[in-house]
Amino acid sequence: MNSPAPYPDRIPRALSRRSFLRAGAGAGLLAAGLPALQACSLSSNGGNAATALTFMNRWSDPNSQKAANAMFSGFTKATGIKITNQVQPSSGSTYQPAVRTAFSSNTPPALATDISGPEVYNLARAGVLMDLTSIYQGIKSKARAGAVAGSEVDGKIWGLSDGATIGNCVFYNPDYLAKYHVDAAAITTTSQWLAAMSHIKKAGGTPILIGAKDQWPGGHYLNDLVQRRLGSAAATQLYNRTVLPKQGDKIKWTDDQVIAAFRDYLAFKPLFQDGFLGEAAATTDGQFLAGKAGFYEMGSWLLSTMRQTPPSFTPGVMLFPTVEGGAGHGNEVTLGNDTIIVSAKANADAVRKFFDYFTRPDSLARWSGSMFVSPPYRFDASAVKVDSPVLGKLFGRINSFSANAGRDGAALFNDQAIDVNIYSRYIWQGSVGLMTGELSPERLCQKLEEATVRAQRKLG
């Protein structure tokens, strides 16, 4: 037990303690004051000054940052308007809330990227966005289908696309497949595909990988299969029931074709790699690119990963095969559409200049090649420079998918088109439940239908 300190006659230590306290308090005030001063100087505008725009985005991985910064500096060189790059961590579960929070604050960014669909509708309805209809009129001649997909509400435009990815791609490893005498070019239907993969599995190979732990990869399969069974238009109608009012119920989740699509997913279960439910998508990305499997369902953004982690083979890519008895065509695509929204408080003139610059054919070509996206505006696809010939070929093929899809051949991703409450619980988590056996396709579809009916009621 420590003996109590004697009441000091002299106070040598106390002095140093007191002076330490003073110094510390001083330092603390200074440290607190400096950021405060900084905050004051950085403060309000929200990009109202004609010479600066703040741009919130999720282009956070190193490649995307490079591409974004290049685009920003190009814009500044052309117009003299500076852009402050407010790049955020890219995880969807944190980014969308961050956008909502940012727009509800006193200092919203002038521009921000966001996924199309309900996120934009909600922000528009809350009155925090700038109406871009007149700006869109100015560039309408340059725009192609998809430029305002998922950002139009009540006839007004609230966002302009900065590039779409194709979601329903199936990448494959021709060398791996050759070992099992499988020719991907001959596969056009899912039955053919499943048969080929069973053959590989029986021979001891790994036909296909999935990182189901992250939940959204399973959502992909549900998306692709529903689109093949219903066709893009009907699928879109179904999804719209969760976010737009007065949609009726012509197409229900409990329709035979939808239940059948969910059941189709179960057919993949024995073909996935061992332990697939516990594997992260990033790991399976890496494993596929290291040549460990034959097929891999993934969106076209896999090209960005390939740029970072060059594959040990020359990958091929095809669209998700058709489903026999389904209404969808084999050339219909799923779009992952990112849109640029604008704060109601932003400087309209500077914003117009930005969109004018962004949709210039040369900017679009550069943007497309560095981000591996297809911006839905007119530009010369041959001017797109991709550093690696392998990636260049893949990207060309993927671009041809969107070109051949036709005007009505595109549907938004289910996790962009469907209300977030519903897709995160029933599509993402639901896909896992299907695989663990906790949910049957009928039960899951029933829950989806109930949730959708509730949503319709709330929307009035």
């Binding site: 109590p4 300190a5 440290a31 309000s44 190193p62 006193n106 890496g286 953004w301």
Partner: protein
């Protein structure tokens, strides 16, 4: 308690158990350190082999891409200022609760402690709107202000350690005409140094590792803290393993190195008397 006096089987179990635990903790860290020097595809193809070509690329790329230098400055600044402030503020409050009689003491104490039981997730949004109204959104100051309000645990802990000191010492000093503040300063504080060290350490860890408030408050990357910067490397659909391993490595080793170097100091401060009563 003397280890030497334990029975043989007990000793063996002790050694095996503790060594096993140590192994379980060290193994992943070793794996991390090995992997960071490999390239992206190698990490996936040969997870357990030694690096073929020793390369620092993952570390340097991650450091630059995440601007970790700035992140560390921010984290250190925020943590140091906040912890210091907490010790001063709650030290005073805890002393009042422990030693002084005043109207509403029990009620106020309960109010002070109740905040511990509320999850930060529901405070985050209202608090952000508050900061936004004060024009403090997206500043490091807003984080410091928030952390300075984390009173409950410190008040609880420090009050307990003040209560453990026998009253007679203070009474005698007060009788001699010393002011409350002087008593606090010169007598109580030296005796409770270790409690303050404990509280300071715990809060430093909590604040350093906090992810939620930086996520909600901050938008400009030059203000980000280290845990927030880590999240940059995990995209929703794309993750580059090489960068991610590099980033994890950068987030893990500096705090550990600092701890390993200062551990002697920290251990002695924490062990000095510790919590009394």
């Amino acid at each position: 308690m003397n280890f030497a006096r334990l029975s043989r089987p007990a000793k063996i179990v002790s050694y095996t158990g503790l060594t096993g635990l140590a192994l379980v903790i060290v193994a992943p860290l070793l794996w991390l350190t090995m992997s960071v020097f490999k390239n992206s595809s190698d990490i996936v193809t040969n997870p357990f082999s030694l690096p073929k070509d020793f390369s620092f690329t993952n570390i340097t790329d991650a450091w630059n891409a995440g601007d970790f230098g700035q992140l560390y400055v921010n984290s250190v600044l925020i943590t140091v200022v906040s912890v210091f402030g907490i010790l001063v503020l709650e030290g005073m409050a805890a002393y009042a609760f422990a030693r002084m009689e005043f109207r509403g003491r029990n009620l106020l104490f309960v109010i002070f402690v109740a905040g511990q039981f509320v999850p930060a997730q529901i405070i985050a949004l209202p608090s952000f709107l508050q900061m936004s109204h004060l024009n403090l959104a997206d500043t490091r100051l807003s984080l410091i202000l928030q952390y300075l309000s984390w009173a409950p645990f410190a008040v609880l802990f420090l009050r307990a350690s003040f209560l453990a000191i026998p009253k007679e010492i203070e009474e005698a000093a007060l009788l001699d005409g010393a002011s409350r503040l002087a008593v606090l300063w010169r007598i109580i504080l030296p005796m409770t140094r270790s409690s303050f060290a404990t509280v300071g350490t715990i809060y430093a860890l909590w604040i350093w590792n906090d992810f939620l408030f930086p996520l909600v408050y901050l938008r400009s990357s030059q203000n980000f803290t280290v845990p927030l910067g880590l999240a940059h490397f995990q995209g929703l659909f794309t993750t580059f393993w090489g960068y991610l391993i590099g980033a994890i490595f950068i987030a893990v080793w500096p705090p550990m190195l600092i701890y390993l170097l200062l551990s002697r100091r920290i251990q002695s401060k924490l062990a000095m008397g510790g919590v009394k009563g």
